[in-house]
Symmetry: none
Subunit: 125 residues, 4 copies
């Protein structure tokens, strides 16, 4: 397991991934994350790098560490709800910005998106 993109720092790619797991409820409030060392082995990455990922997410307020016990998803559910909202808006904002800079109209954006979803939709609404 070492499928990392060269253009973005590993610690950020991992942070993004965990962020998504939390936002998609794959990881739940209060749940314990693997230890830094375990993660290091799992992703074939230096523990320091994992450490950086975890602190980054702690700074964002969605992870908490308990001394000598490990790192946990925060139990403050509001933070998680808010994070979900934040990430959604962030993604939409940059997507729309880029599309508009490329000269696509709102109509083209929406209908292009609908076409895409129609093709690949797995029925999850």
């Amino acid at each position: 397991m070492d499928e990392f993109n060269a253009s973005k720092p590993i610690y950020q790619q991992l942070a993004d991934r965990i962020n998504r797991q939390i936002v998609s409820k794959e990881l739940k409030a209060g749940e314990k994350l693997p230890s830094i060392r375990e993660m290091g082995i799992k992703y074939n990455v230096n523990p320091n790098t994992i450490q950086r990922t975890y602190s980054e997410l702690e700074r964002e307020g969605i992870l908490e560490t308990k001394r000598g016990q490990g790192t946990f998803v925060t139990e403050q559910e509001e933070r998680l709800v808010q994070q979900r909202e934040n990430l959604k808006n962030e993604q939409i904002l940059t997507f729309v910005q880029v599309m508009q800079e490329m000269g696509f109209s709102s109509y083209e954006i929406i209908s292009g998106l609908q076409d895409h979803l129609r093709k690949f939709d797995k029925g999850d609404e």
Copy 2:
């Protein structure tokens, strides 16, 4: 003019910008681009950096260099049309992927997007 983002290489940010200018028809087929030197001055950037930007776009097939004359947007209009379609689908694809990984439903994606466009729409459609 030196409003560059720290996280991405300047040469790529320039390439993206030119890509957008071409796709949005701000730059037209066959049009001459400023010389490397001019661009360097205009954006207050090292000529090496511009050089790299141009080669990148040449590799993508939308710029052409004529020795002794300068760098031009390709005159093969199909390439440009195709590039526009490519960039659009690329953007949509990765946007939808990320949103789905975060557990957002097709409904949330579309309506979130519509909300956003409603708020910020500049009337272009």
Copy 3:
């Protein structure tokens, strides 16, 4: 009860707390402290940690251990008076040092402090 700060060792935070309880006369000269085991349960903390807290304060001369009876606040009242004075001056000294290093004038320090006390004063004076 496990509201501990991550940045400082727990045993020290406990020592500080007891120090304050003694200096504020919440704990009086000669008074018996809870046993190590009781404290451990009360604060949901390992007995080793409490042990360390107590020895620390013994070293400072304000606690005394009587073998087979438990741990007590010293009965030498002067030590307590002196400790109160020490802690006060210590706090003031480092506070002023830091403020002066940051370039705050004596006037700014005093008036900033008065402003703060005016806002938050609970009437104790």
Copy 4:
């Protein structure tokens, strides 16, 4: 030069120091800081540690880095003014909290402080 406190991380002690230098205008808006490597040598500390110090301060918004050029105090003077205010209030807040927990009255705090300043005042008002 390796006068560091054992109880606090070096990178934070350095951040505090720089924070103070900026707030006291010893370092001015837009001024260039020594390179990571220079600082490392000066304080006999690993460049990585300095790096962490700098990023910490960048996150706080008072430093900025320009790729390939170095690290600078931000030129947005308001951020600096605000930081001065923040640090002042932070210091006052924790000082007063500690003193009140130790049972000192507002009167004792203020007059203790005034006594202290009277003794050591260097004429800066």
